[in-house]
């Protein structure tokens, strides 16, 4: 379904197509159930405001999932995640756009695998990065391709 990306197609500096997400409190409740994470800051307004937040805030792992999705949608089915690091620099809130972006910062061969390193991040409408991360992917190579 997704066009397959090959190691040879990737150049350092190219951008991963961005996606903009906006969560709702309903999605946070769905996510809490799906991840089995019932920390009150994600659904209890009073609890969140007593923490000093302006209201319930998005799960860090949910933003991580949005960042992972721009990569999985781009890489095709055959590539695989080797490493993922996500740093939560500022909380994000339902109703506010989360613009997920990424770019390729390195590519190399290691232990027979064709690896690429990407920087990924989520920013708000003003361009402030609230979540930053790094992904290492293993991609298929056209030289490994077998016909038939």
């Amino acid at each position: 379904m997704v066009k397959q990306l090959y190691y040879e197609d990737v150049e350092i500096g190219i951008e991963i197509p961005s996606q903009t997400r906006v969560t709702t409190t309903r999605q946070l409740v769905m996510y809490a159930g799906a991840e089995d994470d019932y920390y009150e800051g994600h659904y209890d307004h009073l609890f969140a405001t007593q923490m000093g937040m302006k209201g319930v805030f998005n799960h860090g792992w949910l933003i991580a999932a949005f960042l992972a999705k721009i990569v999985t949608d781009w890489k095709g089915d055959e590539g695989s995640f080797k490493y993922f690091r996500i740093q939560y620099r500022a909380p994000t809130f339902p109703g506010e756009p989360i613009i997920c972006k990424g770019k390729v910062v390195d590519k190399y061969l290691k232990d027979g695998e064709h690896l690429i390193e990407c920087e990924v991040w989520a920013e708000d409408e003003k361009g402030n990065r609230n979540t930053t991360g790094k992904v290492v992917l293993s991609l298929p190579s056209r030289s490994d391709r077998r016909d038939g």
């Binding site: 379904m1 997704v2 997400r21 999605q27 769905m30 996510y31 159930g33 799906a34 991840e35 089995d36 994470d37 920390y39 923490m51 000093g52 860090g60 792992w61 949910l62 991580a64 999932a65 949005f66 992972a68 999705k69 990569v71 999985t72 949608d73 089915d77 055959e78 695989s80 995640f81 080797k82 490493y83 993922f84 690091r85 996500i86 740093q87 939560y88 909380p91």
Partner: protein
Amino acid sequence: MIGKEVGHRVTEIEKGAIKKFARAIDDPNPLWQDEEYAKRTKWGGIIAPPTFIAYCKTELPQLNLPLKRLLHGEDEIEYYLPIRPGDVISSVCKIVDIYEKKGKSGPMIFTVLETTHTNQAGQLVARNRISIIAY
């Protein structure tokens, strides 16, 4: 405290749990939920999306810190094998680091927990580290 095992959990991975997770993150990729589609890929069947590893967490240990608020600072995951429906994932969590930093409003204590996940065949599936900030 450092090096101490603080949690252990065995999670049976149901296809429905992966589907529910994919729906919650609003990711319709058929690789996470369409068996017929997934069979034709190199994976040979459904696999879980990359951040599904969060589902296999152990209970957060009681850290007994003299601070009220907790925040999630960072996650780091090393992947070795995909998680598949039917897997039985055994997750062992230990404390790998604790350190203090001065924050704007007082001390902040960082606790780093590392969880190692293995499947029913004893193969390493993933290792993840989470950094929790108490302040």
